[in-house]
């Protein structure tokens, strides 16, 4: 891979992550609202919806955790974007300095290039550390996503215990919750693949 291609690829990867984290955060707002809706409906249903009440409380807790974790992911992604663009700026300068040092064979310039190169390598190491941290966060989010599937299925089962009108309402909100949380977990899996370069 040539230097400009490497440069572009580094940006593509971080921009893909940034866009996905923005979309995930927006989606998690909706999941949060759906979980709240499910909880309100179960409270309205009274004693015959005790099972659904318990599951909807868990849904609410899960969606809060999800939202908090996605906010952290977005903040970390912003830092990653900033650091990536800083590294690219440094790399641009270093490439020019390197070309000049090699062309001139001037020892002072070579020394300046090497000193700047060390600084750049330190930045690259910090960037690699940031990527590892994001990878770990995404791994945790992926695990959190599995919980949503279990909760949604439980909610759909518990929804059948109410009256016909309640069943329809609760099934509808459970399905919506499932659909949105599944979209979140699918996006997380896609982002993981992007981050891993697969």
């Amino acid at each position: 891979m040539t230097a400009p291609e490497d440069h572009q690829r580094g940006f593509e990867r971080v921009v893909a992550l940034s866009e996905a984290s923005k979309a995930l955060l927006a989606r998690s707002f909706k999941v949060n609202l759906l979980a709240l809706d499910a909880m309100v409906q179960s409270k309205r249903g009274g004693g015959n919806l005790r099972g659904f009440d318990e599951v909807s409380s868990q849904m609410r807790l899960w969606s809060r955790d999800l939202h908090r974790d996605l906010q952290q992911l977005e903040a970390r992604t912003r830092n990653l974007v900033a650091r990536t663009s800083l590294v690219r700026k440094e790399k641009h300068t270093i490439d020019l300095l390197r070309a000049a040092a090699l062309a001139s064979r001037n020892s002072a310039l070579l020394a300046a290039y090497e000193a700047r190169g060390e600084r750049h390598e330190a930045l690259e190491r910090e960037l690699a550390g940031d990527w590892r941290a994001v990878r770990e966060m995404l791994g945790d989010l992926d695990q959190l996503g599995l919980m949503a599937i279990v909760l949604s299925r439980s909610a759909m089962i518990e929804a059948s215990s109410g009256s016909q009108a309640q069943r329809e309402q609760l099934s509808s909100v459970s399905r919506e919750f499932y659909r949105n949380s599944e979209a979140v977990t699918e996006t997380i899996k896609t982002v993981l693949k992007t981050v891993d370069g697969r």
């Binding site: 400009p4 440069h7 572009q8 940006f11 921009v15 940034s18 866009e19 912003r78 974007v81 900033a82 663009s85 800083l86 690219r88 700026k89 641009h92």
Partner: protein, 248 residues
């Protein structure tokens, strides 16, 4: 870091300003970059110097998908305007840059190839951004000898490069002009020294006065809105410019 702030929105058409970096070292002049979005494409005006590229790129990425960026617009050739070009091209090699024909062999010293540049003739030109009509207007000698402004007739916003710029102290660095008389005190020295041609100034004022402008957006300082736009044009028309104040 800088932040993107929305100035105008109508459907998929918007203007955002990327401004006010609290971490900017005081030896660098603060700049405003404007992002014009039209559906799935976007243009960035005076994308800035190489040193502030990380701050601008980060703010832009937080506000929109940076892959939408298809064009940059360089009002002139100064380093605070366009020296980051190579870095933007590193992100998006097919980016196109509108610039005066006069600088077509100067700006490539910052980066880009022949294909990167869309040379704008002295008279200016009409362009489209995702179907949105934009007008590149001549503003030569204000301050650069090949100088351009960008007008959006739909949003009624004029990007005016260095015209309208002000060097604001930190305690008066609001995004919008709120007290015109106080604000122009910070714009006066800049315009007297940087703007060298009264004839060019008169032509520009005549042109600008005919345009419906809701916002006049300079590259430095605060944005003029509403009646302050006309106040500025009138003030500028009367200002003695091209003046070198004697030291001591």
């Amino acid at each position: 870091m800088k932040k993107a702030i929305k100035l105008f929105e109508s459907g998929a058409h918007s203007w955002q300003v990327i401004a006010r970096d609290p971490e900017l070292p005081n030896y660098l002049i603060d700049t405003n970059e404007y992002l014009i979005s039209a559906g799935e494409v976007a243009l960035l005006t005076d994308p800035g110097g190489q040193e502030i590229f990380p701050a601008v790129f980060s703010a832009l990425s937080a506000a929109t998908d940076p892959r939408k960026l298809t064009h940059v617009f360089a009002s002139h050739q100064d380093p605070d305007v366009i020296s980051s070009l190579a870095l933007w091209l590193g992100f998006k090699p097919d980016l196109r840059c509108y610039a005066s024909w006069l600088w077509s062999s100067f700006i490539p010293h910052f980066g880009g190839t022949k294909e990167t540049f869309i040379q704008v003739p002295d008279a200016g030109m009409n362009v489209e951004l995702g179907g949105l009509p934009l007008q590149i207007l001549p503003a030569h000698y204000l301050h650069s000898s090949g100088n351009l402004h960008l007008y959006d007739p739909t949003a009624k916003i004029l990007f005016s490069g260095d015209v309208g710029a002000a060097l604001l102290p930190p305690e008066h660095d609001g995004l919008f002009v709120t007290d015109f008389d106080r604000h122009v005190r910070f714009a006066e020295g800049f315009h007297r020294r940087w703007m060298g041609s009264a004839e060019a100034r008169d032509q520009w004022c005549e042109l600008a006065a005919k345009l419906p402008i809701d916002m006049l957006c300079p590259q430095h300082g605060a944005i003029y809105r509403g009646a302050d736009v006309e106040r500025f044009i009138n003030w500028f028309a009367e200002l003695k410019i091209g003046v070198l104040r004697r030291a001591g």
